[in-house]
């Protein structure tokens, strides 16, 4: 049980970790290059494909990957599933780091990085992008407050910690509501272009599709992280918890699959699953890798009971959902003359941002009480 693992001493950083640090620095250098020369010289973006790798991965997927934060706090504080309490803090940490990195990705991606603050004072309430920016800003603050107890515990500010505890519940609710709003609105970006997004993806339910798949992805991410942390830090696997998370992912994926099929059938678009050429191919791949294969895996007892099996299933969900975000974003822009493959700089920045998340996570779990039960220390 997690509650028994009181030790916070972690093994010294390995060469793997230093590689990640190096990749972060390379990514930072690539970002500086992008700022220096502009988007045209550093990316393969064009007037035909204005949204590329950074939007698809760093923003659309990054936000969805951080959905574990609100999902776990909902499980623990709303549904009172106490066994997940030990992973609430790591999940909140991941989400907080995730959003911080997403915001960095956004600043790198926008053409006028120095104007990043404009949406906070120049409001267009009819814009989905405006809503997303507001929600992400507010939710980052909520996550900071939700994670603050780790700092307060570390520096033994017990009074402040008790005071903050009064707000646990409102913060959790605010986090869930804000997450629902912006996770779904990332799908909402594409509502305005019904004739551009292929029928396989475009539905007025697109926001809900994004929301449900974000929950599956968020939970998969939390279990992925729990398994990898145990491997890297040579801790015991929290088998009970990762099995429970697997069950959560399975249920969410089944709901997603049923919703997807129901929605396609309702719109009479089921035949297009096989008849839309390239879109059909990519749609099938995303559904197979991200939904159908993991459902089959989680349904098998031998997989459910093995850490490697759960790890594999979580990886499938992560890859499949990222593919979904990529597909929706790319096919929304795909015209007759469209081709796009990210430039070296785009790839380096994205790798750098992912690496930065790992570095920040590692630093946080080394210097802050993340893994042991909150409240245990006093």
């Amino acid at each position: 049980m997690a509650a028994n693992s009181t030790s916070t001493t972690l093994p010294a950083p390995s060469t793997g970790f230093w590689t990640v640090v190096a990749l972060t620095l390379v990514g930072a250098a690539a970002a500086i290059y992008r700022f220096a020369v502009g988007l045209g010289a550093s990316t393969n973006l064009t007037d035909n494909v204005p949204w590329g790798l950074w939007v698809a991965v760093d923003v659309l997927s990054g936000v969805a990957l951080a959905a574990g934060g609100f999902s776990i706090t909902a499980a623990v504080y709303i549904f009172n599933m106490k066994k997940y309490k030990s992973i609430a803090r790591p999940a909140i940490l991941t989400a907080w780091i995730g959003y911080t990195v997403v915001v960095m990705g956004l600043v790198i991606d926008i053409g006028k990085p120095l104007a990043f603050w404009h949406p906070l004072v120049m409001w267009n309430y009819r814009s989905v992008m405006f809503e997303v920016v507001v929600c992400i800003t507010l939710y980052s603050s909520v996550l900071a407050l939700e994670f603050a107890p780790a700092f307060l515990e570390r520096f033994k500010l017990t009074g402040l910690q008790k005071f903050l505890k009064l707000f646990t519940f409102p913060l959790v609710i605010a986090g869930i509501v804000l997450s629902f709003l912006h996770q779904s609105s990332l799908g909402g970006f594409f509502l305005i272009m019904p004739h551009k997004v292929p029928t396989l993806w475009w539905t007025t339910n697109l926001p809900y599709m994004f929301y449900i798949s974000a929950i599956a992805l968020g939970l998969a991410m939390v279990s992925f992280e729990s398994i990898v942390s145990a491997w890297v830090f040579k801790r015991e696997q929290e088998t009970d918890i990762i099995r429970g998370l697997g069950r959560g992912v399975l249920i969410t994926l089944c709901i997603y699959l049923a919703f997807k099929i129901g929605d396609l059938a309702w719109r009479g678009a089921l035949p297009q699953v096989f008849s839309s050429g390239k879109a059909s191919l990519f749609f099938s791949l995303e559904m197979l890798i991200g939904v159908i294969v993991p459902i089959a895996l989680y349904a098998m007892r031998s997989i459910r009971e093995s850490v490697n099996g759960l790890f594999l299933a979580a990886c499938c969900v992560m890859v499949g959902t990222v593919m979904n975000r990529f597909n929706v974003n790319f096919f929304a822009q795909a015209g007759p003359h469209t081709s796009y493959f990210p430039s070296l700089w785009e790839i380096l920045v994205t790798i750098g941002l992912v690496s930065l998340m790992i570095v920040l996570y590692r630093l946080a779990v080394t210097y802050l009480p993340v893994f042991h039960e909150p409240g245990k220390s006093h």
Binding site: F35, K85, K112, A115, S127, L191, P194
Partner: protein, 270 residues
Amino acid sequence: MATNNEKAKGVLVDLTRCIGCRGCQVACKSWNDRKTDKTALEGNFTNPKELNSDTFTRISFIEQDKADQPVWSFIKNQCMHCADPACLSACPVGAFSKTEQGAVVYNFGRCIGCRYCMVACPFNIPKYEWESTNPWIRKCTFCADRLADDKVPACVKVCPTNVMFFGPLEDVKKEAEKRLKENPGKYVNHIYGKEEGGGTSWMYLSAIPFDQLGFDTTIPAFKLPNLTWGMLSEIPVKVGALVVGLGLIAAFRNRGSSEESSESTHGEEK
């Protein structure tokens, strides 16, 4: 947002009249002070190949065979100036606005460069200054400065064959309908832009089906921002329902446990 005012202007582009002289292209560059592109012969007369940050309008040349006769079509492309522009609703910082005359104009001072306008535009009109480190979104302005000054747009002014009929928006619609009615068989029976995306200030008549001339004929006939507004306008209701729902679930699930966190470190309660 609505431009049902008397000052709203429109343009009817009668493609049957265009001779492909590209005078409009030159006049547009000249009035808007845009630099010219370096071009190359590529077996196609359309030049430049697509609109870009320095080319707000250009003639697309399409060659077809009709009854074994080669047929040229010359199609003027530029911003359509929607009644309810997708770019305007999409922009997080309100960098787009619609002038009294119906021109959709852009404010660089607000723009953050997110490029959602480019992705959202049903006609793929806004273009980006990719090579700049302080880039603008660029597109046809309907010569908003000239309109405000009671002048006609530069391209309309220069056109030698009167391809473009410029006037109050309502008159433009009437003129399009009149030409359709008075010349049976001359045009395909469609006024492109009258319904597309909920209606635009620029409209087209053509003798050849629009989808063969590069026009997107799949654009729905309603205001596209309604789709996103449908979602956004429900936010207050959704937030209220979620807060109440989550509160009730939490109260139900946590009943009987006095201190929600302190005594549960063993994680055995379910």
